[in-house]
């Protein structure tokens, strides 16, 4: 059962169905016109390979012939290229010089033979100055040389102005030769361009005339003299982009479902199957794809750049920049206006997805790149203002890739054979063929050969033959395509295996060169971007020595010139300088070093310690001194002798006399403050020094208040009153009160001097001291009649003098100090009214002296004999010791002198 594959989903359908049972897409064309059927069949995807139909006349064979001729022409041109577009590969000069190989001429000849109409003459007559579409294929000058363009395009434009339909089968011969897809583009007219770019020359005339917008669906008047192109030229406002925008608007006006379906179709297919409302858009897409295909071929054209027409050169640069991620910045004067207008809106295209470079409408590798990436790659530009028509183009391409007979592949498929020759070219296409299961080609299912224009027949045959061999449009071009996506750019270029044979390093090998020589192919002059990608060791690429640097010889950047070094310091390995390890030392430094060394050696030597004698002189002397004192004092104490007289009155110090006078001046039962600030260790001395004074106070029946700044002071004070002065029978709380301990040192003394009640709320015995007899009428420190400090510490005496004495007013201050503190307290003594210390008793001698003044024997007298004798013994010991030391010194000196004399 014969099947008909759906052009949309590609699924087989019964032949009798007009609509796909899977996707409801139309399987048969709406029009039965022969011209449309041709394209309908093409778009339906019914290829020869699928239907096993015999090749159409002028199909594969013609294509092979054409390719062979083209290859031979390319080979003679010494420009091996990957260009899949024969138009781009064929040089204009070649066409001029070699008329026998001029395929276009052959096409025209065929056209003339088939149709019997001379389009050229008519077109030349009608629009001699217009640009024709064939100029693109001929890579001729688009601006000036209209003779090189197929005139049928210009003619068709002109004829369309006078023919409303232009698609009927009964059209005049000239119109029959006009491709229906071009005529259909004019069928409903195109919307009026909305903006004025002021550049009317940017579009080829055939494009401008073919898509001349007609507002309100008004068809151009056939009787008008001016062609649509003339109208566009006269307006001078149409730009291609604006025109596309208007197309976009129209597309938006169409039903969404229909647009959705159409978006999936290849442009050419949609052109045939869709309604006339959609034909404009599809025709535009076709032309865009046509342009893209041109660009694609222009990118991979291996011929010199100058040989290429500007529209093909500039997109190549732009595509390279797009692939490299740069913004498209091309001078407007170097590219066609219709391309520049595209670039104006898309100043900085960035590929959003990996490998999406192929989706750019300006991308030369769109045909392959779209197949490489799973995701539909899109072009992004700042502001996300990508026109819808660009998106539609992308979707259309995808659909075209999915569907057989896509328009885009139509131009890509016609690739320039590899420079190695036909075999290499076939190998390359065989690889793509292996990766594809189906190869729907437009030309395969092309129109009836009889009804097809001759030139198109030949062209379709060429295309068909190529596609049959290659089927590159549904293949995964990862391996086959010479173009790579953005992501795979670096890797794939360096991936030798994925490269075509002529790009592999083996191609540069001598064997490859020989092969090229055998095939009479001269080495190609690669484009600059391709040459830069050549692998290492390419001597030919190094034929252009980089003036700005040498080529890298290793690493991923191998073969590239003028590569910046990684880091200046790293790449330059330098042997470290060798420094001498020998020290440069001067003689003085050596001398110092030796000196230090000797010092350390001496320090390290252990000195012999003399063995101590069993009885050293010091210990013997100490034992001797202790024995003498013990014997003397023992005898004196045990004997109780008091034969040593007390000091005379004349020998009594003034300080003692002043103290005695001060106490003598006190009234009876005067409140007296006694501060016992001495340690228990010096209690013997302090008791002996203070006994006479306290005795004198008790004789005066003084009311004693005992305080101390030492914790042990209250106990010593209590002991002193109860033991030393036991003969007076002083009673606590009545004749004396022991307030106890004053904490805080100088601060406590100051506080006691300021507010004594706060410091001593209770007495040493727990009584309320301020209600006792001794403290009667005493509220402050100045209320005491006398303050006596009994201390062995000069600092304690100074604290009392500094903190209390200034707040005592006229109250006198006496000091009973130890003999060791007397030199430090003596400066405070004075006799005047402003004197800080008005009397002072120092030690045992002062107590004994005070006893003399009072006339009462006390501890001073008890200890005086022992003290006096011990003092004499101490003086004698000092004298004896000094004498011994002097004798030893003299003996040593004389001995030394004697030895010196002997030595002399």
């Amino acid at each position: 059962m014969a099947e008909r594959r759906c052009p949309m989903c590609g699924k087989p359908n019964p032949e009798h169905l007009d609509v796909c049972k899977f996707c409801q897409a139309r399987l048969t064309p709406l029009s039965t016109q022969s011209s449309q059927n041709n394209w309908e069949d093409e778009s339906s995807g019914e290829t020869h390979s699928n239907q096993n139909e015999p090749p159409q006349p002028g199909g594969d064979d013609d294509a092979q012939d054409w390719l062979n001729k083209f290859r031979s022409g390319a080979g003679t041109e010494d420009a091996p290229s990957l260009d899949t577009e024969p138009e781009a590969a064929i040089d204009k000069d070649e066409l001029d010089s070699d008329g026998g190989d001029n395929w276009l001429q052959r096409i025209r000849a065929l056209q003339q033979a088939d149709q019997g109409n001379d389009f050229e003459s008519q077109l030349d007559e009608e629009s001699p100055g217009d640009l024709d579409a064939s100029s693109i294929f001929d890579s001729g000058n688009l601006d000036t040389d209209g003779n090189q363009a197929p005139d049928w395009l210009d003619r068709s434009n002109h004829e369309r102005t006078s023919n409303d339909t232009g698609l009927s089968a009964s059209s005049p011969p000239g119109e029959e030769e006009l491709p229906d897809w071009l005529s259909s583009g004019r069928e409903d007219g195109l919307p009026e361009p909305q903006t004025d770019t002021g550049d009317k020359d940017v579009f080829p005339d055939w494009l401008t005339s073919g898509f001349e917008p007609q507002e309100g669906g008004d068809q151009p008047d056939a009787g008008q003299d001016t062609t649509p192109h003339d109208q566009a030229s006269s307006q001078g406002e149409d730009t291609f982009l604006d025109f596309l925008s208007s197309l976009e608007d129209e597309a938006a006006a169409t039903p969404p479902e229909e647009r959705k379906d159409l978006s999936k179709l290849p442009q050419a297919e949609t052109e045939i199957e869709s309604t006339f409302l959609d034909q404009d858009n599809e025709t535009l897409d076709y032309f865009l794809d046509l342009d893209t295909g041109d660009l694609t071929s222009g990118d991979i054209t291996a011929g010199p750049h100058e040989d290429l027409p500007d529209p093909f050169q500039e997109p190549e640069t732009a595509d390279l920049e797009a692939e490299a991620g740069f913004a498209l910045e091309s001078p407007d004067e170097e590219i066609p206006a219709w391309l520049s207008s595209l670039g104006q809106d898309d100043d900085s295209y960035e590929f959003s997805t990996a490998g999406s470079a192929s989706d750019s409408p300006l991308d030369p590798i769109s045909a392959f790149g779209a197949e490489e990436s799973d995701e539909p790659p899109t072009l992004q530009r700042p502001g996300d203002e990508t026109p819808d028509w660009l998106r539609e183009l992308g979707t259309g391409k995808e659909a075209a890739e999915d569907q057989p007979g896509g328009v885009l592949p139509e131009f890509d498929q016609v690739e320039e054979p590899a420079p190695k020759g036909d075999e290499a070219f076939r190998d390359w296409f065989d690889e793509t063929d292996k990766s594809s299961e189906t190869a729907p080609v437009i030309a395969d299912s092309g129109p009836d050969a009889d009804e097809m224009p001759g030139w198109l027949k030949n062209l379709g045959a060429v295309v068909t033959g190529t596609i049959e061999d290659d089927t590159i449009f549904e293949t995964e071009t990862d391996d086959s395509t010479p173009f790579i996506g953005q992501d795979d750019f670096d890797d794939d270029l360096l991936d030798v295996e994925s490269l075509p044979d002529w790009l592999t390093p083996e191609s540069d090998s001598p064997e490859a060169s020989e092969t090229i020589d055998d095939s009479n192919l001269s080495p190609a002059e690669l484009p600059g971007w391709l040459e830069a990608m050549r692998p290492v060791g390419d001597k030919e690429t190094s034929s252009t020595p980089a003036a700005d640097g040498s080529a890298e010889s290793a690493g991923p950047l191998a073969g590239l010139h003028a590569v910046l070094p990684a880091e200046p310091g790293i790449a330059r390995f330098k042997k470290p300088p060798v420094y001498s390890a020998k020290l440069r030392v001067t003689e003085s430094q050596l001398a110092h070093a030796d000196f230090l060394k000797n010092l350390l050696a001496v320090e390290g030597k252990p000195e012999p310690i003399p063995e101590p004698s069993l009885v050293s002189s010091q210990r013997a002397l100490r034992w001797l001194t202790a024995l003498i004192l013990t014997i003397v004092i023992g005898f004196v104490v045990i004997g109780g002798s008091q034969f040593v007289p007390l000091p005379d009155r004349g020998a009594i110090p003034d300080t003692t006399i002043a103290a005695s006078k001060t106490i003598s001046a006190l009234p009876n039962e005067a409140p007296v403050l006694l501060a016992f600030d001495y340690e228990p260790g010096t209690a013997g001395e302090m008791h002996a020094a203070a006994a006479a004074l306290v005795d004198h106070l008790m004789l005066k029946a003084a009311r004693l208040t005992l305080v101390s700044t030492l914790p042990t002071g209250p106990a010593l004070a209590e002991y002193f009153i109860q033991t030393v002065q036991s003969q007076h029978d002083y009673t606590s709380g009545t004749q004396y009160i022991n307030l106890g301990y004053i904490p805080g040192g100088p601060m406590g003394v100051l506080s006691f001097a300021q507010i004594p009640q706060w410091i001593f709320p209770r007495s040493y015995e727990g009584l309320d001291p301020w209600k006792t007899q001794p403290l009667q009428d005493v509220n402050s420190i100045s209320d005491f009649e006398l303050v006596v400090i009994i201390t062995d510490d000069p600092d304690t005496a100074r604290s009392w003098i500094e903190q209390v004495q200034p707040r005592m007013g006229d109250t006198p201050l006496l000091a009973v100090v130890s003999a060791q503190a007397e030199p430090l307290v003596r400066p405070y003594y004075g006799t005047g009214p402003g004197a800080q210390v008005r009397g002072m008793i120092s030690g045992l001698s002062g107590g004994a002296a005070y006893e003399v003044t009072v006339g009462r024997a006390n501890l001073g007298r008890t200890y005086w004999d022992a003290f006096s004798i011990s003092l004499v013994i101490a003086v004698g010991a000092i004298l004896i010791g000094g004498t011994v030391n002097v004798v030893k010194f003299v003996l040593a000196r004389s001995k030394k002198e004697y030895k010196g004399e002997e030595e002399e």
Binding site: R622, A626, L629, T630, I633, G634, V637, P680, G681, T682, A683, G684, E685, A688, P711, T712, P714, A715, G740, Y741, P743, G744, G745, P746, M747, L750, P761, R762, Y764, G766, D792, R798, S799, I801, E802, Q803, Q805, P806, S818, A819, Q820, A821, P823, P827, Y828, G830, T831, G832, G834, Q836, S842, G843, L844, T862, Y863, A866, F867, S870, L871, A874
Partner: protein, 226 residues
């Protein structure tokens, strides 16, 4: 006081005093264990006694008892005293010692202020005024001797020197002579202090010998000989 007139506390105290005195005298033979025992006992008893005195003579009557006083003012003051005093206890713990810093700051600050103020008022000004009027209160010789001794001692502690270029630093000749004189006065002062220490020690020794003899006479002889 004879042995029989002494109460038990006095007797125990006398015995302990006698024995510890002999232990201290054992130092004449070196650092004997008796000497160490006596030293440790003395330090321990002194610390214990100081603690008891502080507790019973300071803390209880000045911090605790006012809390239970009928006088509200005393209670408030007791709380005011007790709070920083309690914070002082946090100095035991290194982690909480910061809490006692304010109390410690108050103590140090007030102590320094009291010491400085007392020194200025009680020492500096009176000593300066006394030196100015020294010739009024003292004889010319004594006053002159004191002035010379004071100046010479101060000049001795004058360490600034003259230095010429490329010459060793030297004091002036006059400064050196006066400094030497001041050194003599300083030596005499140290001699006097040493003599006072000797006098104090000798007095203590005599007192201890007297105590020993008294104990022997009044306690031992009386106890054993009746």
């Amino acid at each position: 006081m004879s042995f029989f007139e002494m109460n038990s506390a006095d007797l125990i105290g006398a015995i302990l005093g006698f024995g510890l005195t002999l232990f201290i005298f054992s130092y004449a033979w070196g650092d004997t264990p008796f000497f160490r025992l006596a030293t440790h006992i003395f330090i321990g008893v002194a610390a214990g006694y100081a603690t008891v005195i502080t507790l019973y003579n300071v803390i209880l009557p000045q911090l605790i008892f006012p809390l239970f006083s009928e006088n509200r003012m005393e209670m408030i003051l007791a709380v005011v005293y007790l709070l920083p005093s309690a914070l002082m206890l946090t100095k035991i713990s290194p982690r909480l010692s910061k809490l006692g810093n304010p109390s410690m700051a108050i103590l140090v600050g007030v102590g320094a202020a009291a010491a400085v103020g007392g020194a200025v008022i009680g020492t500096v000004f009176p000593q300066v005024s006394a030196s100015v009027a020294i010739f009024e209160n003292q004889s010319f010789f004594d006053a002159g001797f004191i002035v010379v001794g004071t100046l010479a001692t101060l000049i001795y502690f004058h360490f600034s020197v003259l230095k010429k270029s490329e010459q060793p630093s030297l004091k002036g000749q006059v400064v050196q002579v006066i400094g030497w004189l001041g050194q003599v006065f300083i030596a005499i002062t140290f001699g006097a202090l040493f003599a006072g220490v000797y006098f104090s020690a000798l007095t203590a020794l005599i007192e201890r010998f007297s105590f020993i003899w008294t104990f022997i006479r009044d306690v031992l002889l009386t106890a054993f000989l009746g």
